[in-house]
Each structure stands twice: as C-alpha cells, then as structure tokens.
Symmetry: C2
C-alpha cells in the first residue's frame, strides 16, 4: 500500500471518528488494551529482534534500554490506555457562545484536528501513547517510528488493529509507515491534502529536518536549554534541593536544568554548598567569577548554548535579576525557566519578562510534563508558539469550528 | 538596513512591548491616529503615485479601486484604530488556574506571540489594521506589502512611526520591507530566529508560495469555495434572500457563495425562483438535473472546485443531506458552509459532519468575518486547523505561558 493510499484510508476513517460518541471511543481503547495483553508474547518476541540488532549495531546502552520492552512495560502501556479512558473527551465542547444584535447565535466548538502525523525515534511506547491520545480526541494517526524499533512498532500496531476489529471503531484510524527509507518521511511532510498536523518527537536533527522540509503545519517539540536563577533572597536549602533535582533526577530529558545563574551577592555563600552537593555526580563548568569561589572547569561561550542532556552543569554569577533575564533571553530555548527567590517583585518580574513555555518560582523545572501538570498524558512538549505551547494533552489535539444558527439573516 | 537588522530591532522592541500596560498601548494607538490625520495630505500624494503607476500598468479597475485612498478611507482607518483602543487587551489573562496535590499552583496565561510577519497584497488599509491589532496584543510587526502599493504603504508606516515617537511605545515595534524583490520574501520566510509567525493575506498564489517556502510557522488564510445546501424543508423565500446575499453582495471575497446544492425534492419548485432572482446579474452553471429545470449553462467537473470570486454560481441537484455533505467534503475548502433547512435532525447532522471553519444554519456565509462575529477587527481568516481557525481577532494573536508557583517542590 502506498503512503497516499494509507492517507486516504485515514481521511475516510476520520469522517466517522470525528463525531463518534465518547463511550464508543472508550470501548475501542478498552479493546486495544485487551489486545495488547493478548499479543504480549508476540510483541516481546518482535521487540527482541530490534534489541538484538541494536546490540549488533553497537547502540548506546541508554538507548537500548529505551528500546527494550518487558512484560511490565507493556502493562504500563495498558495502564496508560486505561488512564486515557478516564480522561474527559475534549471534542464538541465550548466556553464561548454568544448572540449578535441581528439574532445570530455563535458557538466556538472544539473539533478534532483530523489526521495527525507523528514522526518519532526509539521508544516504542510512543506508538501506543500517541495512538490512544489521538483516538480519544477523535483524530486518526499516521505513525513513522525509527528503523531501530521497526519490528516492535509493527507488532504494536498489529495488536492495536486487532483490538480495533473487535470494537465500534474502524481499524483504519491508525496507519504505520514501515518503509525505513527517509524519502518517505519527506513525502509525508508535504501531504497537505491528507495530513492536518505533523508532530516530530525526537532529537534536534529530526526536528530540524521536519521544520525545514514540511509544508504540512508542524508543532515543534523538544529542545530545552533550561535555567535556574538563584536570586539574592533565595532559600539556600530549598535551592540546593531544587537544582539537584532539576539536574540529576533524569538528566537526559528536555526539562532538566542545564545552567544555573547565581546572584553575585549570594554566590560566596551558595556556590560552595552547591558544589558539595553535586560534585560527585556532576561536572560543573563555571564562569570566571564562579571559578574564584569553587574549583571547577571553565565554561566557554559555547557552554551557555548547550543542552547537555548529561551530568554536566554550567554555572554563571550574574549581577541581578535583570542580568539573569538577559542571559536567558540570549541563550535559552524558551522551554522551562525558574527563579528561586523570596522577593515578590523579582518573582513577578521573572514571570512576566522571561519568554518560555513554563516559568517557575521556587520549584524544579522537571515538572514541565503533561502527566505532572495533570493532563493525564502528553503528545509531546511544544516549543513553538502557535497552536500549543508546553505539554500537549488531549485539549491541544483539537481545533475549533464556529457554528452559527440563524433564521434567515443576511449581511447588510 | 538589512532585513535581519530590522528583525533584530523588532525583537528588541518586543521585549518591552510584551509586558506593557494597556493604557500605554492605547495611548500609542491614539497618537498614531492623530499622526495619520496630520499626514493625510502626504499619504494621499504618495498614494496617487501608486494609482498612476497602476493605471499605466493597466491594472484591473476593481484592483485600482482597492488600492485607491481618499480622505474618507483614511478617516475609516483612524476610526478602526479607535475601535481597537476600545477592545479588551488579550494579554496576561487566564481561564485556567489549578493547584496540584503537591501544592504547585499553575496558571495558563496569555502572552503575545512576539514578532508577527504579514505578507499582503494591494489594499493599503491592511498596513494600519494589522499594525493596530498587533500593537494592542503586544506584538511587533514586520510588514511586506505588494510593490503596487509601495508608496502608499511607505507613507502610512512613516506616519505610524511619527505617531509612535510621541507615545510611550517605541517606533521600532513596526518595520516595513520596501525592497520589492521577491527574494526578500523568501528570506523572511526562513527567519525562525526572529519571527514567530507569518500570516499571508492575498490570493492563492501568494499563500501557496508562503506555505511552500516558509520554515517559520505560518497561518494560511483566505481561499473559500463556500457552499449553500437548500434542504427539502427549507423556507423558500428566506433561502432565495440568503443565496442572493451570499453570491452578489460582494462576490470577490472568500466568504461569498460559489456553489448551491439543492435537494432533489425541492428543486422543481426552488430553482425557477432562484433563476428569476439572480439571472440578470449572475451566470448560473448547472448540473444535468439543474438544466432540466432552468435554462442555464453546463457546469463541468472543474466548476465544483472553483472559487469564482465573480458573478458566477454553480448549481447542483443532490439526493439528500448526506449527498450534500459528501459533495462539500470532496470539493470544499473548509471555509464557510451553510444549510438552509427546517429539519433539526439535518441541521445537527450538517453542523457536526461538515468540516469547516464556520458552519451555518439558515444564514448567509457572508458573516464569516471578525467584525461581523463581534471581534472588533480581524487579522485575516485562517483556513488551516492549527492555532486559529476562522476569523482571527486579538484573541488569536496570543500564545500561552504556564506559570508555576511553588515553595521548594521537587519531582519524585
């Protein structure tokens, strides 16, 4: 089946799915959960092929771990589906209904986007998460995983389709691209007639490739060079805990902290304590001022731009909150930024003036996540400004339709 | 000044403008209004140069009319500014504030997009409208008008900047590209570092050029192949009035009706009356069934796809509401679609199943417009699904920022 054929099937299925009652969509999700359970052995077998190939190709250990499925990880996927069943259907809701002077009544209603394309790397659980979120929000989904997880993804999509066959929802609401040639991605990126939005999930290169080549509207996700600014009035104990959490709890993710900015008036007191807490696990790279206080490596200009995704932290002493905001504007990626302070004025200034998806006062940047925010699940974290910004849950997977009810109105 | 230099100035100005109080922005708008009044003679003189060139180039009469400014048209622009002063500031508002179990308090706040790029054709009033909407919503604006209105636009931007100089807002919040080479547009479309969103306003070719070449996120506007379906139970008198209004009140716009679909059971009664009402002003192109009832030209397959923007109407007899929905899915552009019916079942079916920015029951499609919807003004009509759909007013010119207030929370 060609890519366009798959897209045509999705569009056709979308016409029915878009207005389907919640209980029918939930029933389909439930059946998919049962099917994943039923096909567990098959999925694990197929996953083993991918893992063996990855080992043969000398893939990094951490990436192999992301790729590897287990009974428990499949159970987690099923639990994820059950969580999504519990979430409120985001479709055909409105907070805006008004009547014009001429008697026309308008509503701004939420409706599904239509067909969502996802291009993702490695982790096979994205296959199930993305599908479930799409289905619940009335959207069909076209998936393109990485070649390294092709067998796992094929097996998962097979199980999903088998589940859908026993449900009121057509198995055609999901299609998977198993052609590993990159040219097929390029084709996908220009199928404006069939695909309403494309969301790339993965590393910088993938996202840049998509942004550069897509004519279909896209939602950029991912890159986070996140800062924590320790203000003059910060609570030192809490600040050390927050920075430790934001740096080492899981350094390989986009909401981990990469640079700490420290107010010069607190630097002498604060930096030695930060050093003691982190130095065994984290390489610290400091500015000249930092190096006068703690014995660390030098940060060079490049370090301020870096998303390390590793046990490395850049540290810079700044003049004040304005200087911190200036640094973040210059080097940040508008993902997640935090100020640690007891000053209401500085907290408000930072909240207003820092331009990012999530801005924190006295908390770890690691909370930028659909699950943590209470959305139940997420399709990724948008780092662009249009359509959605920050974690994308079900409410970000819809668009709107104005309905206008009249009784013969014409325009003067 | 190079394009990148202009963009840098806009970004710098945006840092201040983004958090400016409403009263200061309104004062700036007021000063711009005064300045347009002051420079009226100069603007008209510059506009004359464009009009004379257009005449020499044998531009179509209707386009020359769009290009032409008068004292009255400048007064209308000033009135438009005063209307925007009266509108509510869309920035730093929230309908969503919640607290997590761990005590973190989250708000989803509206914030300006940053720098908006507008690429537009002909009508010089867009210069003033787009600037005013951008300023009120805290956004800087980069304008690229057509070469045919270059003198008019330059004069308008000059007057705007002179007004801003007397106000609390920097004159650098607006920049105009007066390089008429198309390569500069191509450059603009890829300046992701400086421009947050690009909105093309104009014909199909311009919009396609932008979609094809942009890496900056874009919002497509414009093309509308709008349908009106006359159901079996439609009120005939009202239906004739609505179709006449949607076709002839202003045929050159995107929300004008291009095709009428008529239920076969009402066709014999309805079509002769429609014919009588329209035939002196409108060329009707009918399907085979239509031609059996009224003496009109033949519609060919191509006609169903056409956005005539002219005194031409395609007419097709259909089996029922499902057949009408099927036709609209196949040929429509998802802009504005209407059903004329007294059947609640069919009205609801049409509202749910037709996928378009605006779906009407018993009213003219001509109402799809920010002014008509009560938004006060509009930046264009989005025909894509992400970010905004339908008329874009001030509320569509913002993005969001999550603010998260804690007292030391870390992620488990």
């Amino acid at each position: 089946m060609t890519l366009v054929d798959k897209c045509k099937k999705l569009c056709k299925a979308s016409e029915i799915l878009a207005t389907m009652d919640t209980k029918l969509k939930n029933e389909a999700l439930y059946q998919v959960g049962l099917s994943l359970k039923e096909y567990k052995a098959f999925i694990l077998e197929e996953n083993k092929k991918d893992v063996e190939k990855a080992k043969k190709d000398n893939m990094k250990e951490s990436l192999i771990d992301r790729l590897c499925l287990s009974e428990e990880r499949i159970d987690d996927m099923i639990e994820g589906i059950h969580n999504i069943i519990e979430l409120k259907d985001p479709v055909w809701k409105s907070n805006e209904l008004w009547t014009l002077e001429n008697g026309l009544t308008l509503s701004k209603m939420t409706v599904p986007l239509g067909v969502i394309g996802i291009i993702y790397e490695s982790r096979p659980n994205v296959t199930v998460d993305a599908f479930s979120l799409a289905l619940k929000s009335g959207n069909c989904i076209l998936l393109r995983g990485s070649s390294s997880s092709i067998n796992s993804n094929n097996a998962l999509v097979y199980a999903i389709k088998e589940g859908l066959k026993k449900s009121p929802v057509s198995e055609n609401v999901i299609e998977f691209i198993d052609d590993i040639d990159r040219s097929v991605v390029k084709e996908m990126l220009t199928l404006n007639e069939y695909i309403d939005v494309i969301i790339p999930r993965g590393g910088k290169d993938l996202i840049q490739f998509v942004v550069k080549n897509a004519t279909v509207p896209t939602i950029e996700t991912g890159v986070g060079n996140c800062h924590i600014f320790v203000d003059e009035t910060a609570d030192i104990k809490k600040s050390i805990d927050i920075i430790e959490n934001a740096k080492v709890q899981r350094p390989g993710v986009c909401n981990a902290c990469e640079t700490v900015l420290v107010h010069k008036k607190i630097a002498n007191l604060f930096l030695p304590k930060l050093y003691d807490r982190l130095i065994e696990r984290v390489e610290i790279r400091g500015c000249q001022e930092t190096k006068k206080i703690i014995p660390v490596n030098s940060a060079i200009e490049e370090d301020w731009y870096k998303e390390y995704l590793d046990y490395i932290l850049a540290v810079k002493v700044v003049e004040n909150v304005d200087d911190a905001i200036f640094h973040i504007r210059k080097y940040g990626t508008k993902h997640s930024e935090a100020i640690l302070t007891e000053s209401l004025t500085n907290a408000n200034k930072f909240l207003r003036q820092v331009d990012a998806a999530a801005v924190y006062v006295n908390a770890s940047t690691r909370f930028t996540d659909g699950g943590q925010f209470g959305f139940g699940a997420e399709m990724g974290i948008s780092t662009q400004k249009i359509h959605a910004r920050g974690p994308m849950g079900l409410n970000e997977l819809v668009t709107v339709k104005y309905t206008i009810i009249g009784n013969g109105q014409i325009r003067e």
